[in-house]
């Protein structure tokens, strides 16, 4: 045997509870394991399909063309909204990031039950890995968007960069928070998984992606507080600020009519709100996860 038999093994450290209990902090301490899980998720999300990873781009692209045609041609928004394609696509990137995180995160624990039932590990790993996989797909989409914007004469600016980062941060926090909540709940009642499909529908229509914000402002007569309290709407507006505004003929005029005046303030507020939601999500998850292994059949 390779072990030296003579030296008696002595365990280091304190007596501690064996179950992981530091939640998300523990997830980020064990980055190597997280990396393996993310890599696994990337290869497994479209397991058994012929087109594989391409589905991550086919899905948003098909949505893009649908909205572009229905809203643009049939409802004639091409006339009213300058560069309507950019307007849709900028919003679609964050909306798709959110819906993918939400849907995959909700299923993550049930899908990985082989591991969850047999191994001791922080179970927050799975929703977080789902979020990171979705984030991984945002990259190529952003590249496409930037190329398209450059074509329209858009130039990058520091405010725009800040807006993109804020938008992504909002979705990362919100997506992880909801993925945690729903992933745990889905173990107990699969109804939560079904509810996700309905909620994503609300998300797509509840943000200024397939219609301009100016229309919302007009309909509500300036009373848009409720509409803007949706963090995803804020993230989409930040994306419009970063990309779409810069592609139009008169950016200053467009920003005045199509963005809320206190956009960055709203964005910062949304980040704080989503962070609080993440803490709540973690608390609920910690409570529920005691019963997760025995409820996974």
């Amino acid at each position: 045997m390779s072990e030296t038999v003579s030296a008696v093994h002595v365990a280091q450290g304190e007596l501690t509870p064996p179950s992981a209990n530091q939640g998300l902090l523990e997830v980020f301490r064990r980055r190597y394991l997280l990396k393996l899980l993310v890599r696994r998720e990337i290869s497994a999300r479209y397991q058994g399909s012929f087109l594989g990873l391409m589905w991550s781009y086919i899905n948003p692209l098909s949505q893009f063309f649908l909205y572009w045609f229905v809203m643009g041609y049939i409802l004639n928004l091409h006339k009213n909204v300058e560069n309507f394609a950019v307007h849709i696509f900028a919003g679609l990137i964050v909306v798709h990031f959110f819906t993918e995180t939400f849907a995959a995160g909700t299923r993550s624990i049930v899908r990985n039950k082989a591991l969850v039932k047999k191994m001791a590990m922080p179970r927050e790993m799975f929703p977080v890995a789902s979020m990171l996989v979705s984030l991984y797909h945002v990259g190529p989409q952003l590249v496409i968007l930037v190329v398209a914007c450059l074509f329209y004469g858009w130039t990058p600016d520091p405010g725009g960069l800040l807006a993109v980062l804020l938008a992504l941060l909002i979705i990362m926090l919100l997506g992880t928070a909801l993925a945690l909540l729903f992933a745990a709940a889905n173990v107990f009642f699969r109804d939560f998984g079904s509810a996700v499909g309905i909620l994503t529908h609300f998300v797509r229509f509840g943000v200024p992606m397939i219609y301009p914000y100016s229309l919302v402002d007009e309909r509500f007569g300036g009373h848009t507080t409720a509409y803007l309290s949706n963090p995803i709407a804020d993230a989409v507006l930040l994306m419009q600020r970063a990309f779409w505004i810069g592609t139009t003929q008169h950016p200053a005029e467009m920003a005045r009519t199509n963005l809320p005046p206190n956009l960055f303030q709203l964005g910062a507020l949304a980040v704080v709100a989503c962070f609080v939601l993440l803490l709540i999500g973690q608390m609920v998850f910690t409570r529920l996860q005691n019963r997760i292994p025995e409820r996974l059949q």
Binding site: A11, L15, T16, P17, L36, M119, E294
Partner: protein, 264 residues
């Protein structure tokens, strides 16, 4: 002596669901049936295991052995009382390792080792040793979902035993392996035992428990029925009758112990 595993008044309750859907629940409530029913898998279990001890955890089916291992491993948390452990824990729960059926054996080795707390470098260093021990040949690059139950168990055991753990949990590991593999496992566990690591061994085979362990804890319907000397524990369970006819596994292990005796 330092304590390695401390269980204090541990209890764990499972819910037996009678009715799950909204419709079934409403019907049950209207009829006045129980909507759910609890059962105590562990009830006020306390014991202390010192570092380096080798414990045989015994009991009939459903006595709470696997639940106890899951609490020690950290997969589950107790509903009441506390479980405390010192150091890194590795091992197998109920023969199967936590493998992902869609991943290949190779990928699962890395993932499993990472979950058990090994770094990438550490895994790479031990990879050949792990694969040699499991001895599953070309199947290493096939998804583990296609493995036979024997191969599955071999690879799982191999990863777990090559982790530098302070506590090793072995739950009926020998139930699926063939005889040469069983012998290899016993040798490895013997090495663990002599190296001063804590060994917790769940088995129904009195022979191998006698060989491996220096203390036996018997669980009885979720309570500690006996805690102490190996032979007395086996007698307490009435497993001491060596020619029990309705326990073929026992004879098998007894034979193997004889073989082992010749080898060592």
């Amino acid at each position: 002596m330092t304590a390695s595993i401390v269980a204090e008044n541990v209890s764990k309750t499972f819910t037996l669901r009678y009715h799950r859907t909204f419709k079934q629940m409403t019907v049950a409530m209207v009829k006045g049936h129980d909507v759910s029913d609890d059962f105590k898998a562990l009830d006020d279990v306390s014991f202390t295991i010192e570092q380096g001890e080798s414990i045989g955890l015994m009991g009939l089916n459903g006595s709470g052995k696997s639940t106890m291992l899951k609490l020690i491993n950290g997969i589950m948390r107790p509903d009441g009382g506390t479980v405390l452990t010192r150091g890194r824990i590795a091992g197998l729960i109920a023969t199967g390792a936590g493998f992902h059926p869609q991943l290949t054996g190779r990928e699962n080795v890395y993932l499993n080792a990472a979950i058990l707390g090994m770094s990438e470098a550490e895994t790479r260093r031990k990879f050949d040793e792990i694969v040699d021990f499991a001895d599953i040949g070309r199947h290493l690059d096939a998804p583990v979902g296609n493995y036979s139950s024997g191969m599955f168990a071999r690879l799982g055991f191999s990863v777990a035993i090559h982790v530098d753990s302070d506590i090793f949990l072995a739950d009926e590991v020998l139930a699926v392996g063939d005889r040469p593999f069983k012998r290899k496992c016993m040798e490895k566990m013997e090495a663990i035992r002599t190296s001063g690591r804590t060994l917790l061994y769940v088995s129904h085979a009195a022979g191998s428990v006698r060989k491996m362990c220096d203390r036996v804890i018997v669980l009885e319907k979720g309570r500690v029925g006996f805690d102490g000397d190996v032979d007395e524990g086996i007698r307490y369970l009435k497993y001491d009758d060596d020619n029990t006819e309705n326990e073929p596994d026992e004879d098998d292990t007894e034979d193997m112990d004889d073989d082992l005796g010749a080898d060592i």
